[in-house]
């Protein structure tokens, strides 16, 4: 152990905790007299629902990728227009719709968590 390490050890070994008053425990126990442990608040959205939505999103992405790959030519002809496929068109609409719903859920979740944090801060300040 170097001299520097020994000095640090001396310093740290000298540190002591500060002691509150003798009545501290009694004061706390008096303060919680008549109070009850607050029940745990339930999660706003069930995690299973979030996982299911994520699974649907991944499936949609994979399906759209599959459709795009299967409908693509081996050697693309950039001079001609892409063939109009009603299936592809509907797929795009579905994906856009699902994404909008997911975005709304995300926004709602973000706002509710923000509100919860605000409430906790207000409670902490009271």
């Amino acid at each position: 152990m170097t001299q520097e390490d020994k000095t640090y050890k001396n310093l740290i070994d000298s540190l002591e905790t500060e002691q509150p008053s003798m009545r501290f425990t009694k004061n706390v126990m008096d303060a919680i007299e008549g109070m009850e442990v607050a029940p745990v608040s339930k999660r706003y959205i069930n995690p299973l629902i979030i996982k299911a939505i994520a699974a649907v999103l991944v499936l949609c992405l994979l399906a759209s990728l599959y459709v795009v790959v299967m409908s693509a030519d081996a050697i693309p002809d950039y001079t001609s227009k892409l063939p109009e496929s009603p299936l592809t068109e509907h797929f795009s609409l579905y994906i856009i719709g699902i994404n909008i719903i997911l975005l709304m859920l995300l926004a709602e979740r973000w706002l509710s968590s923000k509100k919860r944090i605000q409430d906790l801060q207000n409670n902490a300040q009271e």
Binding site: Q3, K6, T7, Y8, N10, L11, I12, D13, S14, L15, E16, T17, E18, Q19, P20, S21, F24, T25, N27, V28, M29, A31, I32, M35, V37, A38, P39, V40, Q121, A124, Q125
Partner: protein, 191 residues
């Protein structure tokens, strides 16, 4: 071992044995009080805030999942409650930056010429001259025996930031003690 005991006590409290909470208060009161005192130096105020910490811990005890040590969870409450208290009741308090703090420390040690009888007294007085967050991080690591990761959780810092901060705080404490107590005596000191 200690962790298991804490969990047992918490279970007992959650099952309605309110008196068991006193064991946790007895066990952690000096640590919580020291952590709060590092941020709020006025003793009476620090004691009130420490009591508030335990009341909050009691009320939200059902929310303790056991994913961290009970002490880490409790010290997080202590840290946030002390910071909230400062923001609410002492909004004018601003933690000094390093250069200002160094000037204050120099002034204190030069003008007051403290004569400490022992290194123990010197260290425990000099830690109060550190910036509050430095004093808190030293307390958490060396007294409350929290790991760097746990300190990160308590003080809401990245682990690397906490590690660097602890290193600097320790160096600052050593410098202050050496100035106040004497470098030679500090080196020669044996517990």
């Amino acid at each position: 071992m200690q962790q298991a005991q804490d969990v047992d006590i918490i279970q007992s409290v959650l099952q309605g044995n309110k008196a068991a909470f006193a064991v946790l208060v007895e066990r952690y009161q000096s640590y919580v009080f020291t952590i709060v005192s590092r941020l709020i130096p006025v003793r009476e105020e620090a004691e009130d805030v420490s009591q508030e910490v335990f009341v909050k811990a009691y009320l939200s005890l059902a929310g303790f999942k056991g994913t961290s040590k009970f002490s880490t969870w409790l010290y997080s409450i202590a840290h946030t409650t002390a910071i909230s208290h400062l923001r609410k009741y002492r909004p004018d308090v601003v933690f000094a930056d390093e250069s200002t703090m160094a000037a204050i420390t120099d002034n204190h040690t030069t003008n007051h010429q403290p004569q400490y009888n022992s290194l123990r007294t010197a260290v425990n007085s000099c830690i109060k001259l550190l910036p509050p967050d430095d004093a808190e991080i030293i307390t958490l690591f060396y007294l409350a025996e929290q790991s760097i990761e746990e300190i990160g959780i308590i003080m809401r810092l990245e682990s690397n930031t906490a590690k660097v901060k602890l290193h600097r705080a320790r160096q600052k404490l050593k410098d202050i003690v050496e100035r106040a107590y004497g470098k030679e005596k500090t080196l020669l000191y044996r517990n």
